[in-house]
Symmetry: C2
Subunit: 438 residues, 2 copies
Amino acid sequence: MESEKIESIVKAVVEELSRRGQTGAGSGGPPKSSSPPVKKNKLKIAVLGAGNSGNAMAGHLVLKGFSVNFWSFFDFELAPVIQNGGIRMEGEVAHGLAKPEMVTNCLDKAVKDVDLIMINTPATVHRTLASILCGLLRDGQIVVLNPGRTGGALEFARTLKRYAIRAKIFLAEAQTFIYAAELRGPGAVEILKEKNKMRVAALPAKDNRCVMDILVQVYPQIEAAQNVLETSLNNVGAVNHPAPMLLNTSIIERSAAGEDLRFYRDLITRPIVEMVMEKIDDEKVSVAKAFGLDAWTCLDWYRESYGVTGPSLYDVYHNNPYYLGFHAPTDILQLNNILDEVPNSLVPLASFGDLVGIDTPAIDSLINLACTMIDIDFWTEGRTVESLGLGKRSPKEMLQYVEEGDPFGRCREGRLCRSISWTQNGVLRTQSGVLKGS
Amino acid sequence: MESEKIESIVKAVVEELSRRGQTGAGSGGPPKSSSPPVKKNKLKIAVLGAGNSGNAMAGHLVLKGFSVNFWSFFDFELAPVIQNGGIRMEGEVAHGLAKPEMVTNCLDKAVKDVDLIMINTPATVHRTLASILCGLLRDGQIVVLNPGRTGGALEFARTLKRYAIRAKIFLAEAQTFIYAAELRGPGAVEILKEKNKMRVAALPAKDNRCVMDILVQVYPQIEAAQNVLETSLNNVGAVNHPAPMLLNTSIIERSAAGEDLRFYRDLITRPIVEMVMEKIDDEKVSVAKAFGLDAWTCLDWYRESYGVTGPSLYDVYHNNPYYLGFHAPTDILQLNNILDEVPNSLVPLASFGDLVGIDTPAIDSLINLACTMIDIDFWTEGRTVESLGLGKRSPKEMLQYVEEGDPFGRCREGRLCRSISWTQNGVLRTQSGVLKGS
């Protein structure tokens, strides 16, 4: 086993080195990007969220020459970036000080006149952001959830509808996050790996071409998924994140006490993989297959995303040279592995499974355990077929809906749509705090 | 009738003038406040939301000598205040340039170290704000929803629980907004009336005393309601706002075309009051009475809040001298009278009615009409007994829950509560965009 592991690591490193020798574009792998192109790319991008992933994406896209507005709700996240004069990019993939066009806590300023809005928050924030963005979005803007977890785009669209969206936007969700990245201190981030391939689907999927035309300008390795059910049901986070968090209280205590521990190295043991995680993977694949979708096992996913292979899923986690950089949590609620992935990955997988008659006992048992340990009823708080607005549809009708439907509830052509004719100014104030005293 | 109306207006004006001659404090009416006290009040207050009500409250509290942090999601709302050097307060109740301690789009900065957080947004924003505030709140802070509409505090608490609140805060909802106020241009607001009396309830109501001790320092005319079911089921907005918006398409078109029309004068006709609004009032009162709560008719409410009386509800609307300042909408979705009050006032009233066996045909018909006209299913999007987390309780158990229960799901004494022991720094990052690349 030890020699297999070394062989696999060597193979992955060699592949990565050869990839960096190429131009990248069109090769299916990520383009080389540590030296920025002289000519500015004309795309204007808002990166929303300033945690590990937001910093990584904003910084990398700046270094690639894009005009980037970088936004977070919180001053404590952006203050170091402002103080440093940019995002400090560390490591091999992208290096240097990346200066966004704008670093702001104002959401309206951040998204004004941008072509592409990249949402890099936990899925717990999708509904929140949709409710605030609703009145700010403009015709033709593309919104991408990085990633959607399970049901992100469906929940986002339903929220936009509930807040009476009028703009004709494009909405898409990614199957995973394009980078493996971790913060390295205030305003500093290391991209451990830019993935070789990532699938994205628009909602509805008939918008795929419009979305992909723009997205491949940013990430040539992105390819279109069939629809958001494919991206949602191939949610690898559901396998990777909750189980190691819930089943490692002693490691978390030791990490909190100051020991240098790593997420994948120390929390992902062979027993946890074989007794729990592989079973979740199997259930996830069964649900996706029951919908007739292109279902990837985690082994498929690591081969395609990272170029990492191995004889078992355990070996793949431990062979993955990009994973050693991820530190262990010091608190069971860190990383959103429970607060985000239980309600927004496991619960909807169980719900979709229920719809197509696939039992999900491993997923169910993890959800029940999380409810018990954290004292939150994730079954009622999480995303379900019903809460995503798919309630009365058969699986076939759901597929039709995510490919051809109108999840935003925009009106039929030629009719008033939520009183467009009455609108007098550019700012729709459905979310702006306007309230009439009674 | 004409002479009755004049008599009633004269009476209200005389009452108001005599009230302003008094010191205000302890009299049950609002204190005189156009000249600020020399000594600064020590309470630190965050006013969240910068529409009509947020500007009115922030400006008035500044002029009363409080330290106020003024926050909105949006630059377009705060930029005029920053540019003007403060909020321009117009009219008799409060006049002058009010300079908040801080005007910011950063929520973390706005709520840091304040004693009292006054949320002045549409109820549509309650869940959104709770999800963002969750990790920022600190032990002992008081959060008040101005107002809660129906179920505001219950929804807010449920959201805090779902986002794993750890701080021990106090949460309360107001039955109405303390002012009648309207913006008078960018960064300028007129307070038409500060209400004579307003009820507030904490959730749970056993916290009433702690909350009231602070609130009466700010508004002496506030008194405690029995519990949040009382404040929620006496929701006058449900009567006043949706019906005139839905049943006045021609007035809204004329207003959009530039005619000077007023909300109460021109949208509230005798037919609309007698054919619809009084019936909604009756249903609302019946539901509150079925819970054994102190139920106010709209006539009671106008007498207590405004000191305005009259032979019928129609007369009261038209006799109310403070109401003429409210302009007619130019769009059916303005003022949040539909997007906010249908799902957050009418739907929960129907749901509570259903629970106690009170039919609500007038309320139901308005909800159905709104669903048809606006193409949003408010029945499923709105607040219900179930969505507020009260699902399996009897009315008696609900009363017990809102008075003595723990809606935040904080753990039993002496146990780990969502892993408090693991927390290493002051910032809980459940909402901060932290996301682990997978």
